[in-house]
């Protein structure tokens, strides 16, 4: 074998793995705020909500690969090398996001919380209908915590921005929005108050 620098390289590898774990967060989008819990054993998970909804599923693997031509290794600059590392982080993030969205879709379908627009255009009515179906949370100061909207296309994002603007400027929609939020607050408060041991 050729001289290797095993100890230093082992340390560097650990640093690179940590870097990838941090870097992928930048590409996770809405999932970047989702905490990552570590499981030390087992091959699957089972979850049960407070409402009794059950879900069992295996762990999924999110992986990425990159190719390095060893014959061309001497031409690889540090910048090019780090670009490959960043690409790994991005690819893993993409895999993870896909898994996340698949799980959300599965969960939503299971409880029937899906609105099929049947290829109709996005409208304010549709937006308000979605809000009606959602569980909406509030912080300890009573401030509304609306969920994030994730779209697949730029034009849909722009459309949603327009819709939300209209909801807050059009009197009729503003009223309906206000009523929905008040109902949601009531639901939230009732739910909060239901945390009790009775009897």
């Amino acid at each position: 074998m050729l001289p290797d620098f095993y100890k230093a390289k082992k340390k560097l590898r650990e640093v690179l793995i940590t870097y990838i774990q941090l870097a992928k967060k930048q590409h996770l989008g809405p999932f970047s705020d989702v905490p990552e819990i570590r499981f030390f054993e087992g091959h699957q998970r089972y979850m049960e909500t407070e409402d009794g909804i059950k879900d069992m599923g295996p762990f999924h693997e999110a992986k990425a690969e990159t190719k390095i031509d060893l014959k061309d290794f001497h031409n690889l600059s540090s910048i090019e090398f780090m670009a490959k590392i960043d690409k790994i982080a991005e690819d893993i993030a993409r895999e993870q996001s896909k898994i996340g969205y698949d799980e959300i879709e599965k969960a939503a379908k299971k409880v029937g919380n899906v609105v099929d627009v049947k290829k109709k255009p996005l409208t304010v009515e549709l937006y308000l209908e979605i809000l009606e179906r959602l569980f909406i949370s509030f912080d300890s100061n009573g401030k509304l915590l609306l969920p994030q909207i994730v779209t697949g296309r730029r034009e849909d994002t722009n459309k949603f921005i327009e819709i939300i603007k209209e909801v807050h400027t059009n009197f009729k929609y503003k009223q309906r929005y206000k009523e929905i939020i008040q109902r949601k607050k009531l639901e939230y408060d009732e739910r909060k108050a239901s945390r009790k041991l009775v009897g």
């Binding site: 990552e36 087992g42 998970r45 089972y46 979850m47 909500t49 407070e50 739910r191 009790k196 009897g199």
Partner: protein, 540 residues
């Protein structure tokens, strides 16, 4: 060949303290029933091991380290009187019937000089003339022969496994047992690798267990030399757990593993006793480098309180009555209980060990309120935080030891912690049940809303024998959110359940050992396990 060299090297360097346990296992493998193993506290008058040979004759062994590979005449002169007593005095032990004679052995890891050989011959002539049996001698060569007979070929022979063994052997005896490395070796020897399907004969498994016991004795040598009693306790608890895994996986009859388990339990009990003696004699509880001890100090006290509580409960379990010992344990635990530190969920089982002892010695509601305080602490430290709220304190899951989590709690970790603990707990459900059993209804009512914000997490191994493994790659991680509204009567019913269905029957045979197992394997302390254990220990 390499393994033999390794063993010979170990034997050359071993001391009486570190050799006692491996030698006990060698005897057990030959059919001896081990009746007594020394604590090396100077009270045993040279009787390091007492056994009953396969032919029913009691045997007594004195172990002596050979300095520079040989027992010299000056060493012989120092031990001569003790050896004469060894042969001529009867062995006062409750497990032995009145016997006219016993066999006496001098065991050394080296050889005898010519002068010593001659001296022993002279002694034996004198003993014979007085109708006493001879003093038998076992030297290095015969010990190595015994080891070879134990079929060490079954020890892992691949280079990486030998490397693993070397790494454990060269570990400082002052450190904690390198559990991950130890279990890797145990899994290989005892044929417990989950993805491999073996079909060994009973004879093969028996040899594997005996061989494993010897291995464990050897790898704990350095720790024994340093009088690192907790490391001994950990190692032998892990060994016992893996033997149980083997017994369950292969449907072994008790006679195949009974001896090794009994010895390991004696060793553990001795280590607890030794630890007790050390604690009794200490004026402070700082250990090692003082400058860096602060983050670990209260965690150490918490661990010591739990171990002494376990020791006190064990003594009650086996009716080992000694008011003086009980008074000392009680004094230590009660004086130090204000130093209990909740550094992570793994500490909770340590609190519970104390709780079960505390409940025996204190009739007030203070022990029960300790449960309430633990519940409150979990719901406070691990409550879900609002976004962007900085998390400064949390309770790590029971998969983290103090050594692993302290750097993150105190800010001296060199890499980020890739884990998240808020909104979940492995112990909360069990604690709630224990508190409910004590009927503190109003207290639980006030704690309930915060309790519902924490999900109950547990792990269910795929097979019953996986329960005994340090980690099992097959199994289900269960995350359940408690119902927001619960009826008191329903909660009581849940809390009173005590079948312990998750616990393999082998473990149910000795609740004290099960508590010890949970102290070392805190991630196995499910709510079902805690309820069962509580039912058993409260009856003690």
């Amino acid at each position: 060949m390499m393994k033999e060299k390794l063993l010979e090297n170990w034997l050359d360097k071993t001391t009486e303290r570190s050799f006692t346990i491996p030698f006990s296992y060698l005897l057990a493998a030959e059919g001896h029933t081990i009746v007594h193993i020394t604590r090396h506290c100077g009270m045993e008058l040279g009787r390091d091991i007492i056994s009953i040979a396969p032919d029913g004759i009691p045997c007594v062994f004195q172990l002596k380290t050979a300095k520079n590979g040989r027992i010299t005449l000056s060493q012989w002169r120092d031990m001569n009187a003790q050896l004469v007593d060894l042969v001529t005095l009867s062995i006062p032990h409750p497990a032995l019937r009145e016997s006219n004679h016993h066999r006496s052995y001098l065991v050394t890891n080296g050889f005898l000089t010519e002068e010593v050989s001659v001296a022993i011959e002279g002694l034996n002539s004198s003993l014979e003339s007085r109708n006493f049996p001879k003093l038998e001698v076992m030297v290095k060569g015969s010990i190595l022969e015994k080891i070879r007979n134990l079929n060490i070929e079954i020890w892992p022979s691949e280079l990486k496994d030998t490397k693993l063994l070397l790494e454990i052997l060269t570990e400082s005896g002052k450190s904690n047992i390198p559990k991950e490395k130890l279990v890797m070796l145990l899994e290989k020897i005892l044929l417990l690798e989950i993805d491999k399907h073996e079909n060994p004969s009973n004879a093969e498994i028996k040899r594997a267990i005996s061989s494993c016991a010897l291995l464990c004795g050897i790898v704990t040598s350095e720790f024994s030399n340093e009088e690192n009693f907790f490391a001994e306790i950990e190692a032998w608890t892990i060994f016992s757990s893996y033997v149980f895994a083997c017994a369950l996986r292969y449907g072994l009859k008790k006679k195949i593993w009974k001896d090794e388990i009994e010895i390991s339990q004696k060793v553990i009990y001795n280590s607890l006793n030794n630890l007790f003696e050390e604690i009794k004699g200490r004026s402070h509880f700082v250990e090692g480098d003082t400058l860096s001890d602060e983050p670990f100090f209260k965690g150490r006290i918490t661990l010591l309180i739990s171990l002494m509580s376990l020791f006190a409960l064990w003594r009650r379990y086996i009716n080992d009555i000694n008011d003086e010992v009980e008074a000392e344990i009680r004094k230590f635990c009660l004086e130090k209980k204000d130093s209990l530190a909740l550094w992570g969920e793994a500490a909770i089982i340590q609190y519970l060990a104390f709780f079960w002892y505390y409940r025996k010695i204190d009739g007030s509601c203070a022990p029960d309120f300790m449960l309430g305080q633990l519940i409150k602490a979990i719901t406070e430290l691990n409550k879900p935080r609002e976004q962007k709220e900085q998390v400064v304190r949390f309770l790590a899951s029971p998969y983290y030891s103090l050594e692993e989590i302290a750097p993150y709690l105190r800010g001296f970790a060199d890499k980020p912690l890739n884990d998240f603990f808020l909104g979940q707990s492995y112990f909360l459900k069990g604690l709630v049940h224990l508190f409910v059993r004590r009927n503190w209804k109003q207290h639980i009512k006030s704690l309930w809303p915060d309790n519902t914000r924490i999900k109950y997490v547990s792990f269910e191994p795929e097979r019953k024998w996986h329960y005994f493994l340090w980690r099992s790659m097959r199994g289900t991680n269960i995350i359940k959110a408690p119902k927001f509204t619960k009826k008191w009567e329903d909660l009581k019913e849940e809390a009173n359940e005590n079948q312990g269905k998750c616990i393999p029957n082998l473990m149910k045979q000795n609740p004290i050992f099960f508590l010890l197992f949970l102290l070392i394997f805190p991630h196995r302390a499910t709510s079902s396990a805690l309820r069962w254990l509580d039912s058993k220990l409260m009856k003690l």
